[in-house]
């Protein structure tokens, strides 16, 4: 009875999230350094990913939940973070005259959005809103794989598919017609560490960076998780043995 109910419950639980993906999408499954219970982020890749975000994506996509101080996770030290922040102009104010003014960013600031507001964003993009990327890998089913496949998924439209004005064909996008023009063509960024800058390599770096942006506490979560599971396993064994001892005299 017990086992059967458990199996049934498990099946029921798994059925829930499994239905998320749909449509004729081509998802490329990849092995990410952050997958699995011991997975960690690749700091060098995240730094490259940030550079690619800045040079390729940031013109249209905000990253509003990330503050410069968070870049300590990418391996930057305090001085480097200050320097990065200072390269951005951040709106502050009002000052004593009641005016808003621009000043260089500080570590505590969030990354400023490329748009004043949502309507300005739509107006600049044919009515389509470029989504904020802070949570994008968690806001899509199979986020990392999906994002990678999307970035690398721009293709010639197959015979018989008409691509309307302002739309683009993408093999990974649900419905295949996406408003975002192809962002990567290869060699879009020049990495200071000389790393590969093919479309796939940049996409992969971006996924590393954005996965961190969505789930910055992942590494500590998994670390505590391993310890917790270890502790609870011992607890389970001990409590089971203790139960056998105590029940030994019940007939």
């Amino acid at each position: 009875m017990l086992k059967r109910i458990f199996a049934a419950m498990l099946a029921c639980t798994l059925a829930g999230p499994a239905m998320a993906a749909s449509g004729n999408v081509e998802l490329q499954r990849r092995d990410w350094s952050f997958s699995g219970p011991f997975g960690t982020f690749d700091k060098a890749a995240m730094q490259r990913g940030f550079q690619a975000y800045r040079e390729v994506c940031a013109g249209c996509h905000s990253l509003e939940l990330i503050a410069f101080r968070n870049f300590a996770d990418l391996g930057y030290n305090e001085a480097e973070i200050k320097a990065i922040a200072a390269q951005y102009d951040v709106q502050d104010g009002p000052n004593d005259d009641g005016e808003m003014f621009m000043r260089p960013g500080i570590a505590a600031d969030r990354i400023p959005s490329p748009y004043l507001n949502e309507n300005a964003a739509r107006a600049g993009n044919n009515g389509a809103l470029p989504p904020d990327l802070s949570l994008i890998t968690k806001a899509r089913a199979n986020g990392p794989d999906y994002l990678f496949s999307l970035l690398a998924g721009y293709k010639e439209a197959p015979e018989g598919v008409t691509v309307p004005e302002g739309m683009h064909y993408n093999a990974a996008y649900p419905g295949n017609l996406i408003a975002m023009p192809q962002p990567l063509y290869g060699e879009d960024v020049t990495y200071s560490d000389g790393a590969n800058n093919s479309v796939e390599a940049i996409s992969s770096d971006l996924v590393q960076f954005l996965m961190w942006a969505a789930e910055p506490k992942m590494e500590v979560r998994k670390r505590i998780g391993v310890a917790a599971v270890f502790f609870l396993s011992i607890f389970l064994i001990f409590s089971y043995l203790a139960k056998r001892r105590i029940w030994a005299d019940v007939h």
């Binding site: 101080r69 570590a107 505590a108 607890f235 409590s239 203790a242 001892r245 105590i246």
Partner: protein, 186 residues
């Protein structure tokens, strides 16, 4: 209504509970207690300041725009900080004061690294009101520094308590000069 009417065992008190001395039984309950204690920590620690709050725990202020004899008030850790560009006269008076008779004796040089700029936490050490004296025209008390209207504490041009109920001088927050005109507070 003794339990023996209803249940088979164990008679508590007179007979040992089964397993009371058993290693696994003791270890199980010990681990349960340990686990509960471990879980308590995150629940308590979440009360501490969060990362975004801590990120604003120190601020940088450019003092070059404060005219002589003027003060500005900046917000630091949710409290007002007074930065006063003191006049030569104010500095001289602060230094001339004989500190031996003061309630909280402190030399002015110990309170202002550069005598021109005095940096103070603008919170009365009595019961936490914000003293007057920042804006021109405000009452500045008998010693021309700051005056707390709540219960009448008078502070001098070095922010030292001179009269009234406050027990100590206005606090000087930890700060240092990043350059000639930029102060980092906190």
């Amino acid at each position: 209504m003794a339990k023996s009417d209803k249940t088979q065992n164990p008679a508590k008190g007179d007979v040992q509970e089964p397993g009371r001395r058993d290693f696994f039984v003791v270890a199980t309950y010990a681990m349960a207690g340990l686990g509960a204690a471990a879980v308590a920590w995150p629940l308590i620690d979440q009360l501490n300041p969060a990362a975004d709050t801590l990120a604003l725990a120190n601020i940088e202020v450019d003092v070059s725009k404060i005219a002589v004899g003027q003060s500005i008030t900046v917000k630091w850790r949710g409290k007002p900080v007074f930065i006063r560009h003191r006049t030569a006269d104010e500095i001289a008076r602060a230094n001339a004061t004989d500190i031996t008779g003061l309630r909280d004796p402190q030399d002015d040089v110990a309170r202002a690294e550069k005598p021109e700029y005095l940096v103070l936490v603008g919170v009365c050490t009595h019961l936490g009101c914000v003293p007057l004296g920042q804006k021109t025209g405000e009452v500045r008390g008998d010693y021309d520094g700051w005056f707390c209207p709540c219960h009448g504490s008078h502070y001098d041009t070095s922010g030292r308590i001179r009269k009234g109920p406050a027990p100590t001088n206005l606090e000087v927050p930890p700060h240092n000069y990043l350059s000639d005109s930029v102060i980092r507070i906190g």
